[in-house]
Symmetry: C2
Subunit: 384 residues, 2 copies
């Protein structure tokens, strides 16, 4: 088996929406196509760098792709001759200084996930089953509870618009809705939250996401005001690595918090638990695998988290797409994010998937299954 080509392209998302911290107006993402020669035919694997971080093609072109393609590939193979994605990550990290991970973890992770796609196709398995083949110590599943990450602030969006958005998602089968907070005055945010509770029918069907955007002046006010609502979780109340802030927030909020999507190394996720006051069995860790060195790195991260008694039930992927859905199913996590109609063609799952009382059942389409996302796959298919 040999990786014979890696192509990348930057795609502009063209979105008007925003959260408490930034707008997506200029946002781009890198799509990647990896071609593997398995000895009898060429197999293409695809991935994209998820959402919220800009395209990273320059890093791929200048460093990570040549480190794979320009060198002998014997050191990236398993004993059975298959490509070992973990060894590919190690090779891409040649010549890289420790720390400052995000500058490379998104590019490396996206390439790594595309390699998994190709490998799963080689075995004619859906990715989640191939993950289980490689890591049988984790229990995979073909059925995943998916919640909607939405409720963004948008130009001229009213309280009623928010209600309609949530109702539409529930009509489509979703049973948990996450909305943004911190981008409006707290009084207005509370109205939005109460609207969401009313439409969903329960505070336990509503989660909040501040995207690290609360300030020193208001974050404890949010904690106190929202403490008793019984909401599902409160995500990123403070800056992603403000462990002291997380601790203070938790002390006043008491209910479930979530975080982790903007940490890009096993070490930083571990720090969030150890120093951020995260509580086993109560708080939620969110990891963006394609942005954090990929699937094999996530496996190491899971192993470390298990050692400190962290439960798989409390770990979910950031980013609602076919990649995170398969990873959640492959490792038997309990939940996955979904972004129906939020990030253009990068939103959502296989076109044929339906949500049934909150759950999606995966088909046996080989690999990640971007081939089942018509509009998105056009982008991949037009690549060289």
């Amino acid at each position: 088996m040999k990786i014979i080509d890696i192509q990348e392209e930057a795609i502009k998302l063209n979105l008007s929406l925003s959260n408490s911290m930034f707008s997506f107006k200029e946002m781009t993402t890198s799509i990647v196509k990896v071609t593997i020669d398995n000895g009898s035919k060429l197999i293409h694997g695809y991935a994209f760098n998820s959402t919220g971080r800009y395209a990273c093609g320059a890093q791929m072109r200048n460093r990570f792709v040549p480190r794979i393609l320009d060198r002998d590939q014997n050191d990236i193979l398993r004993s059975n001759g298959d490509i070992d994605p973990k060894k590919v990550v190690k090779k891409m990290l040649t010549g890289e200084k420790p720390g400052g991970d995000m500058e490379r973890s998104v590019a490396i992770g996206t390439i790594e996930v595309a390699i998994w796609d190709a490998l799963a196709k080689h075995y004619d398995l859906p990715l989640y089953k191939y993950i289980n083949k490689i890591y049988p110590e984790y229990n995979s599943t073909n059925k995943m509870f998916c919640y909607v990450g939405g409720g963004y602030y948008d130009e001229n969006k009213t309280l009623d618009d928010l209600g309609v958005e949530i109702q539409n998602n529930f009509d489509n089968g979703y049973r948990l809705m996450k909305i943004k907070v911190g981008g409006a005055p707290i009084k207005e945010d509370i109205e939005r939250i109460e609207k969401a509770i009313k439409v969903t029918g329960s505070p336990f069907k509503v989660a909040l996401d501040a995207n690290g955007g609360l300030t020193n002046a208001n974050y404890l006010e949010y904690a106190r005001e929202l403490s008793s609502y019984g909401l599902r979780w409160f995500e990123e109340p403070v800056q992603p690595s403000d462990y002291e802030g997380y601790n203070n927030f938790i002390e006043h909020y008491r209910s479930s918090v979530a975080g982790g999507e903007n940490l890009y190394s096993e070490q930083d996720v571990y720090n969030l638990i150890k120093y951020g006051g995260f509580r086993v069995g109560m708080d939620v860790l969110q990891i963006d695998m394609p942005q954090s060195y990929g699937i094999s790195y996530f496996k190491d991260c899971l192993d470390r988290l298990k050692k400190v008694n962290w439960s798989l039930d409390q770990i979910t992927p950031h980013g609602g797409n076919q990649m995170s859905l398969h990873i959640a199913c492959g490792f038997g996590l309990s939940m996955c994010e979904a972004y129906p109609n939020v990030f253009g063609v990068f939103s959502g799952y296989d076109d044929s998937y339906i949500v049934n009382d909150g759950f999606i059942t995966l088909s046996d389409r080989p690999g990640i299954g971007f081939e089942g996302q018509n509009e998105l796959f056009k982008l991949f298919n037009e690549m060289k």
Copy 2:
């Protein structure tokens, strides 16, 4: 005042040396030229992205430069009409998600430092005096103690070669030498350290740098074995944000440790102190300003560190170059790193500077003074 052009170019360093974690074989750096129209003439400011992190021109071209040049610039001016670098940083951060700083902090910081160079030239002041003009609450100085960061592992480099390297630096006036550890078996490293102590004449004239490269299996052995040597400091014994590891190391090592060069936000530096067990008045914080959003951001970082009683004496720049030297003098820090003959043309200071019993006295050349580094300035001067 208006920024009318920002150019960047990636330069390959072509070095064979290595530390415990990586080799510099492929390393590149971005050089930057900013052109300011001050109303009567054009002024050029220069900077480069220091060492150890790759060129970041794509981020500059795709995001940070257009955010400055393609928009109205009234919001980056002080009330007197001068450009305010802090406001420029804020503008470059438009559309950026919190966390994952290094992917942008190097590009933003390098542009920011080049702007300072142009502004200092506008006032016909050396940068350290211009820093003092803007931040008079910090005491500037024109004289700085400089130590040598060197002692790298290199192909075929012997113990005697290391001794000659150190002796040459001491002959040239330096009085403190930092050498790499962790890239050889501990027995060999101890021989290197004892050689360094012998040549310098005192363990207090020798510091160590493991570049985060010790392992779980050997870091406490290094701590115990080297604890009683009386060395100046032990830098980055563990991964840059492994606060638990720093704590354990400090418990066994007891003497002075150092760290911080691979943390890119005020928050992460603060975390190193708070959770890494760093001791006020004993341990050393090292910050790479051009790689960490630049000078105005560093000022905010200093203000925050002062609030937790951290002393300026214990804060030094990472990266031995004219930029870090001026920043150290501008804020009245107590020490600066030097890399004579290590990183090619990006090594060292003004060609005319001499080291006198460990100290360098700055000239009144306006700005950062790259114009006094003949070989390096050729690169800047050839830019569009």
